[in-house]
């Protein structure tokens, strides 16, 4: 059974259709990479998956729980959010919390863990991203790369079934991208299920078990990295990839 199955997910803002009926299935251990032009609805799709934005309609099956997306309730929201985690483009660390507290908040208030256990897990996760010496630093005292790696530690500490990455490197200085990519690579190697939105094509090709080309609120093409990057069905994929290649 798939970990997550979405059928005909639609999202409207005012009268504008942002997501126009998205079908998506992800199995345990898979890494789905979503590529596509800016403004195509990739971030909106991620935020609809964990209900940070309310979908207009559609169906979801998460670990066997059927959810009617038109009739979301608090239980559905918490079910999704407490089994998933998200890494944001602009890090979105809690500004009033230290690096350690940024990680423990979700464990204490989301997973209802006691503080000592939460601290132990947070320290372990900070160690994993080589930032245990920054445990008492506030986000404003950290570099962008360090903030994003703490964002990743905050996500992995929750031991989620699925992590959603929203362009995790696009706000970083070029020399800081590598460390964040390494952390995400490590997660993929450990079998973590992920959906990653990125503009880094070499990274997408290497990490993705499946690539989705997203444009105009729809999946226009999908397949293995080899298929999408070498023999795409949709001509727009070729145009998009060659435009990106020219930018480099």
């Amino acid at each position: 059974m798939p970990l997550l199955q979405i059928k005909n997910l639609k999202k409207k803002f005012d009268k504008k259709n942002i997501l126009k009926g998205v079908d998506l299935t992800i199995n345990k251990g898979e890494v789905i990479v979503i590529i596509g032009p800016s403004g195509s609805g990739k971030t909106t799709l991620l935020k609809n998956i964990n209900f940070l934005e309310q979908p207009t309609s559609g169906e979801m099956n998460f670990k066997g729980h059927l959810i009617n997306l038109q009739k979301l309730n608090k239980q559905n929201e918490l079910l999704l959010r407490r089994h998933t985690a998200m890494v944001f483009q602009n890090y979105s660390l809690f500004k009033n919390k230290t690096a350690l507290e940024n990680i423990t908040e979700g464990l204490i208030y989301g997973k209802k863990m006691d503080k000592n256990k939460a601290n132990q897990i947070a320290l372990k996760e900070l160690n994993a991203v080589n930032l245990s010496d920054k445990k008492d630093s506030y986000p404003a005292q950290l570099s962008g790369g360090q903030q994003q790696r703490i964002g990743i530690a905050r996500a992995t500490a929750l031991d989620p079934d699925l992590i959603l990455f929203d362009e995790p490197t696009s706000a970083l200085d070029p020399e800081l991208v590598g460390t964040v990519i390494d952390d995400i690579d490590n997660l993929a190697n450990k079998g973590q299920t992920m959906i990653v939105v990125t503009h880094l094509m070499s990274f997408a090709k290497r990490i993705g078990t499946k690539i989705l080309f997203f444009e105009d609120g729809q999946i226009k093409d999908s397949g293995t990295p080899d298929k999408i990057f070498n023999h795409p069905d949709n001509k727009r994929v070729e145009e998009f990839l060659s435009a990106i290649a020219q930018d480099k």
């Binding site: 944001f88 809690f94 919390k97 979700g106 208030y109 989301g110 404003a140």
Partner: protein
């Protein structure tokens, strides 16, 4: 009339001034937080209520609020069967100032709330936190720090507004200065009020310093 004698006489009213200042400031902050919360609701009734109260509170002089609290509130309470005739003048002073300044505090908190980065909500919800915990742990502490410079301004305005309580006969520093000037038939009036001004100024310097220390400690946001 000696300088130290004047200072001593005026400082006799300091506990009253500080008591009214602190209690009414805390209460107006609570009112302000509630009004800011009402103003952030999606339903028109709550937002309308917040708007009307804020308009009235900001549009009327604090002196009028104090007089209304002292002379009219007992009548309203009497109407609902509560006898407030023997209640302390401090109650009415604190009530008048708190309600009079609640609208200003509401605006301080509302603007701070709107300045909290929306991504902080998303990040908190994404780790499975519930709304009440998101507010308690993430939003309110940030809102408070953002609002601090305005809270500091309001606090100092409040300090000066406490001198109005003399109109309902509370012996604060201003009332002490008036009495002292009257005792000397107004001969030393200028000197007495200059000393009073210096005392108020010194209190603002102390509170200003304390606020700055606190803001410096929280400048990581």
């Amino acid at each position: 009339m000696s300088f130290t004698g004047t200072v001593k006489a005026l400082l006799a009213g300091l506990p009253s001034t500080l008591f009214i200042l602190i209690v009414s400031f805390i209460l107006s902050s609570i009112i302000g937080l509630f009004v800011a919360w009402l103003a952030s609701q999606s339903d028109k009734f709550s937002r309308g209520l917040a708007k009307v109260y804020t308009g009235l509170s900001r549009g009327t002089p604090p002196l009028l609020m104090l007089l209304l609290a002292y002379y009219e509130l007992p009548k309203i309470l009497q109407f609902v069967g509560i006898n407030a005739n023997d209640w302390s003048k401090y109650f009415f002073a604190i009530f008048g100032l708190s309600v009079g300044f609640g609208g200003y505090m509401g605006e301080v908190f509302r603007s701070a709330f709107e300045s909290v980065d929306r991504s902080q909500f998303e990040a908190a919800y994404s780790v499975g936190m519930e709304r009440k915990d998101v507010f308690k742990e993430i939003i309110l502490p940030q809102l408070f720090v953002i609002a601090l410079p305005n809270i500091q301004n309001m606090f100092l305005s409040f300090l000066k507004a406490t001198s109005l309580v003399y109109v309902i006969g509370i012996a604060d520093m201003y009332q002490d200065a008036t009495s002292l000037a009257n005792v000397h038939q107004g001969v030393f009036q200028l000197q007495i009020f200059l000393v009073l001004g210096v005392i108020y100024w010194l209190i603002t310097v102390v509170f200003d310093y304390l606020f700055k220390l606190y803001i410096k400690k929280h400048d990581y946001i």
